[in-house]
Symmetry: C2
Subunit: 566 residues, 2 copies
């Protein structure tokens, strides 16, 4: 497990990797339609960071947007001891103002497949993301073998600007953003045409020539080798499924943690998830094969994304003879659950504590408030403050927390199968204060949305921690009755993102051993924007010295000025 | 002149006027096409402020945008003693972050026709503006009589978002934003249809019924009365001309200063200008009349805006029988110069000092830089700093000013009739440091742009001051030779905005008696965005105590923190 618990030993080999990035708006045509997006150093997606476990990553991030702040979250990196580098606006740091540079400095302590993305407004959906891959430290080995790697960063793509999307989500009456126009693989997709038109009645064949920004992605491979596919999803809305024509996939890693290997025909990837799967190129080498990515969990109105698995020396432009493989039916939840339930920890993974000190039960509901539609947790829809929590709590600015703390339970008896009896919600800063080194269970309870017979999948992502996924259940969480008996304490997987299935519940456990202020939220961008999250303020008194630049805004800036005037 | 020089006497009658505003994005259809714009309290344009000379205006401005900062500039208000309330991002204050509230508090010391607008990025072009009208103090009289008022806030309107516009202006290759799609009167216009289709071959009659956001503006008047039309322009690009069918206009005020009344058929209004004109309803009362606003100075691709002068008791919906009056030919500069040159101070206006202590000559050129197109002043294209000047200069943060100060002259011999021989420019913070109570002349020199035979009109606006417009000339400024002889020191008008005509120069004079940091720039939004401005840092050591909230960002925030960490 590389330097996981052996930081001192690894320190010698580890090194600092420096990056200078500039974030700016630019014209780009990810799916053939031109749009203004947010890129880094003129690239979309942003540059891939590649490091070794134990390395220190140093990113000097200049904001070259004109009027917008920016932050970058390093998704899956726990930021042990550096909570101010977690890159969450209003939570871990002041947004970086235009023309300012902020230096992110943090250790990637654990090998795995990660990514990074904007975490302010809906800037992730505007294209602010890229891959972050951490290899094992020198002298360490992965617990499986492979001959090469293929990287697949998956996303979805809207033609409307995020500004228009955000106004719609905040409007009365509410305007839903609809389904994305395209799915992208490594920032490339095809709108209004198909790479495999011969197999798609009524569609036009895409022009695949040249190096257009929407050109198909080609993964060159050699026959009879084993490849590690690193797959991560930073979609705004879509839950995805990936399948490679004729090839089996062996799942070996989830969210930067090794899992007990298992073989499948396809994998589900929710927004915020990352996986490594092994693929052996054991098929007829005279053909190329399709990689197909389709939508799950919502009636798809977005065409699957395709890429070419190119068996060399075949030409990359030689389209696969077979039709693109179909992903499972969008509403085949049994298929999805079967996949998710098979994800278990690889032998050697640290086991969870046998018991917890506290259980926080979070009911996920869709609600109304003053003509707006919101997502709420225990009837509070999250609204983030002007001054980030980490600084204001560290500096003891009491006014930054509401007097009434949010509830640890929603009680028993809530009918998760029907729209909320009382659909009204409130907004607030639903901050849960966690004591140092306590073991915390969180039960996420899904429910029916405002419309009858609607309950969606929500992938919840925790910052600052991996957690053990102890179990899942259908229907209402039963409470203490039989709770412990239903948990897997033997080999639960460690992850940073866990899904709740429609009408079901998911239980996770983690140890509050990383002082900081951490977001825990649905990773679907419009859902987070509509309030679907909570905050964990964890042993803030133990947080080390916060860099000035992380607190040079709002109340934390003015609190340090001696008088009312300067 | 009300409380101009009599603040103490007026203080008794003056009062504070409080406003609570919230700035947010919203859907709106100013010309029938829906778009996301920036509104205030759900309105577009923002609420009109109406006050009396000597009043204190207090605006608690909450930023409810999602990721963008915001400021509001009170155009024409000199902010005597309150330079931090001038509302210029990067210059007078830190941009107000999302969810923050900043309180603008300033005295409107002088009656007149003003307006306010965003002054960050191109937020003005996104719709962030409104009217500000200051009446004479109680017991004072205007120096002319009228029976009623009509308010006309003029703007132009693009269907592309400002984000797309800004990216295009900053791109390599450069992408010009083109001409606006519509002209708006009080935020209303008509795209792709005409209110007077009967007179406009090939056009469709607009649907004028109901209270649509693009419904025609109606000005109800009674026959045989005199009305004061308050006209101001906050256009992004367009220079305008206003004409009212069959009616003469008597110009009595320009930019909050009384002028020697003169009668015209039409008035030019450049972006940043404001005028009061008197109109007597002495025409056939059985008819209504068109108010027509057209484009000047650029080959118009935007249809004139129309409004209805509604002689009561005629129905407002009764369209004028006559065709809308035509505005002058766009390139009839002789007409424009004749109008501008007629604007002279009303008797009683303070005269300028007879001589100046310093003359700053500013050559306006269009240039190239590393594949970008820029506007430059004495070969420096303005780039604003992350930390606003007022705070950083007041606090003596030396690193905020470049070591080399910009030049006071561009020398003689520059050929203004041709594209620049050396089109390359540099970028920088072109800050001119002004000594307290010195009299400063500024000569603005226009020139040929990058393309042959192109020289545009540029309306320059000065913050913190009115200035006397001493004179205009065609061609290259002659330097000392005959300079004084060409100036009008007898009755030059006081203004805050002055135009330079193609290939010509304009000379202004002001007394540096208002400590602060003041922008001086072309009021055309894309030109300013491309660097067309300079900064006057005026006796900053005499600036009073700056409110914390104006400096709670960047280097001015961190400078006040004792250590590197918090």
């Amino acid at each position: 497990m590389a330097c996981g618990g052996l930081l001192l030993q690894c320190a010698e080999a580890a090194k600092a990797r420096h990056f200078k990035w500039e974030v700016s708006n630019m014209f780009w045509s990810p799916d053939g339609e031109e749009k203004v997006l947010i890129g880094i150093n003129g690239q979309f997606p942003g540059p891939t960071i590649r490091a070794k476990a134990g390395d220190t990553i140093v990113v000097e991030l200049k904001n070259a947007l004109h009027t917008e702040g920016v932050v970058i979250h390093w998704h899956g990196i726990r930021q042990i001891g550096t909570p101010w580098a977690d890159g969450t606006a209003s939570i871990s740091q002041c947004a970086i103002n235009p023309e300012e540079t902020f230096t992110y400095r943090f250790v990637v302590d654990k090998p795995g497949t990660y990514f990074y993305h904007g975490h302010y407004g809906m800037q992730r959906a505007a294209g602010l993301y890229g891959s972050l891959v951490v290899d094992v430290a020198d002298g360490e080995d992965e617990p499986f073998e492979y001959d090469g790697e293929l990287n697949l960063l998956l996303s979805d793509w809207y033609h409307e600007s995020i500004y228009t999307q955000m106004v719609g989500l905040s409007s009365k009456p509410f305007r839903w953003i609809g389904e994305p126009q395209s799915l992208l693989i490594n920032g490339r997709g095809q709108f209004n045409c198909s790479l495999a038109a011969a197999h798609t009645p009524g569609s036009n064949q895409c022009t695949t020539s040249g190096n257009r920004q929407c050109a198909p992605v080609v993964f060159p491979v050699l026959p009879n080798k084993t490849y590690r596919l690193r797959v991560a999803s930073t979609t705004s809305l879509a839950s995805l499924n990936l399948v490679v024509g004729n090839h089996k996939l062996t799942v070996v890693e989830a969210d930067g943690n090794y899992v007990d290997p298992f073989v499948v025909d396809d994998i589900d990837i929710y927004s915020g998830d990352s996986y490594s799967v092994l693929l052996t190129t054991d098929q007829n080498p005279s053909s190329n094969y399709w990689v197909s990515v389709g939508v799950r969990g919502r009636q798809p109105k977005t065409a699957p994304a395709l890429a070419v698995l190119n068996y060399r020396p075949n030409r990359a432009s030689r389209l696969p003879a077979l039709a693109p493989p179909a992903t499972p039916a969008w509403n085949d939840y049994a298929h999805s659950k079967a996949f998710t339930y098979r994800i278990l920890a690889r032998a050697g993974t640290p086991p969870p504590p046998a018991t917890s000190n506290r259980r926080i039960e979070l009911l996920n509901t869709q609600n109304r408030m003053d003509g707006h539609i919101k997502w709420s947790i225990n009837n509070v829809s999250m609204v983030l403050p002007a001054t980030p929590y980490l600084g204001s709590l560290k500096m003891g600015l009491k006014s930054t927390l509401a007097a009434v703390r949010p509830a640890d339970t929603f009680g028993r008896g809530y009918d998760v199968t029907r729209p909320p009896a009382n659909p009204n919600t409130t907004v607030g800063d639903n901050v849960y204060v966690l004591e140092h080194n306590t073991t915390v269970d969180v039960v996420l309870q899904n429910a029916n949305a405002l419309a009858n017979n609607v309950s969606e999948v929500h992938p919840w992502h925790l910052h600052g921690h991996d957690f053990w996924v102890l179990g899942y259940g259908d229907g209402a969480f039963p409470g203490d009755a039989g709770y412990a008996a239903r948990l897997n304490l033997k080999n639960p997987p460690l992850r940073n993102t866990a899904v709740i299935f429609p009408y079901g519940w998911t239980a996770i456990r983690f140890v509050a051993d990383n002082p900081g202020v951490w977001a825990f939220h649905c990773h679907i961008e419009p859902h987070l924007h509509m309030g679907m999250g909570v905050i964990f303020a964890e042993a803030v008194d133990r947080v080390g010295e916060v860099p000035k630049a992380a607190v040079s805004c709002g109340a934390t800036a003015t609190a340090l000025m001696a008088n009312d005037h300067v």
